[in-house]
Symmetry: C2
DNA sequence: ATTTATAAACTAATAACGTTAGTTTTATAT
DNA sequence: ATATAAAACTAACGTTATTAGTTTATAAAT
């Protein structure tokens, strides 16, 4: 004896992501979402644990979509080139999916296991991209944090309209990545000297 | 004939900043704020244009406090040292005032003149800190964007609990700044070669 | 074909919030 | 003492999220 088939989580998350991208994360409400789906807002509780539950799932959904984008981008690339490609795919994702990207950081429970794991997959990917740089274990962790900070910081500031001056932002980001990569090589050279 | 003297904006913003820091930006509501101030929520409209107006003012307040912190930190410093000091003061501010720092990015109208000016002061400060690196005009703008991205990205990720692994975060950030500075020197060396 | 179990979707109701309108209060300058 | 202007108030409304309880539809079992 099985129940009737209604909405599924995937449909709900896609609709929520669309609202986030088009109207901003603030407008991802149960009221607006349910209207878009053609149901009443209490019905959403059959699929998601309230607004917080929706935000949690949406954050996870966003991270896995980001991961899919990144891994497709770096296939067949290595070394400096892979770093540039990874970075550019990251900010490109944030531009294409501003709301979903924002949702990634709006999880009510950042310590949730599923969410952590989705984030860890991205970290592991960045670790692999940085492997050719021959960093020791600790330095590798530091470098991953660095590259994530660069990508997220740039994407976030760009989204918030932080770059007022009319100077090409792609060039800015490319130069930032080049500076980072050059710095990695340089620090490695210095440590090899000893 | 002057009116009675009630609350002033400064008091309101300080209370709002405290709520933001202690309970998160989501709890900066007119209801909670007015309760903390011992007045009814509609009375806040005498000082601030609703919740959006409060958020706008709070963002501006946060930027000026950040600017004050940064400028005090870099006084008497120059070159690489000034960059390290600036960056560390930045993330230190974000740690001490997590909610107020977050508020900085939650202005309903990012294009507002007063807010833009508050942000521009910080940009100008970073420009001056990077002057010793002898960058041409465009490169200087790119470098400022880069350093801002690094600082904001790191602060933001740290705040969101993005760094799971138990490896010292201060070391991570220091190394990121060192990588950036080394990269700047290296790129400069390369461009001088021609 | 009929029955039945199950979950999806519903209605109704409540509490909290932001906001507006209109009234009262109170400190100060005359 | 009095008039004024703004601060603070009460009352009310619309919108949310949320809970409780009811109805409905569908897939499987008879």
């Amino acid at each position: 004896m099985t129940p009737r088939t209604g909405l599924d989580l995937q449909t709900i998350l896609e609709a929520a992501a669309k609202i986030a991208d088009e109207q901003g994360m603030d407008n991802v409400t149960l009221a607006i979402l349910s209207k878009k789906l053609g149901i009443r807002s209490p019905s959403l509780y059959n699929h998601v644990d309230g607004l917080n539950g929706l935000r949690q799932k949406l954050a996870e959904y966003g991270l896995t979509k980001l991961y899919d984008t990144l891994i497709k981008a770096v296939i067949g690339k290595s070394g400096d080139d892979a770093v540039f490609t990874l970075g550019e795919a990251y900010v490109h994702f944030a531009r294409r999916h501003p709301g979903l990207y924002e949702a990634t950081f709006h999880a009510p429970d950042p310590a949730d296991t599923d969410l952590q794991q989705a984030g860890q997959e991205i970290v592991d990917l960045v670790v692999r991209v940085l492997e050719p740089f021959d960093l020791d274990q600790d330095s590798a962790v530091h470098a991953v944090r660095g590259l994530r900070s660069i990508c997220h910081g740039f994407a976030s500031l760009e989204q918030k309209g932080g770059f007022g001056i009319p100077l090409d932002v792609d060039t800015s980001f490319r130069m930032l990545l080049e500076t980072f990569v050059a710095g990695l090589h340089e620090l490695k050279r210095l440590s090899n000297k000893k």
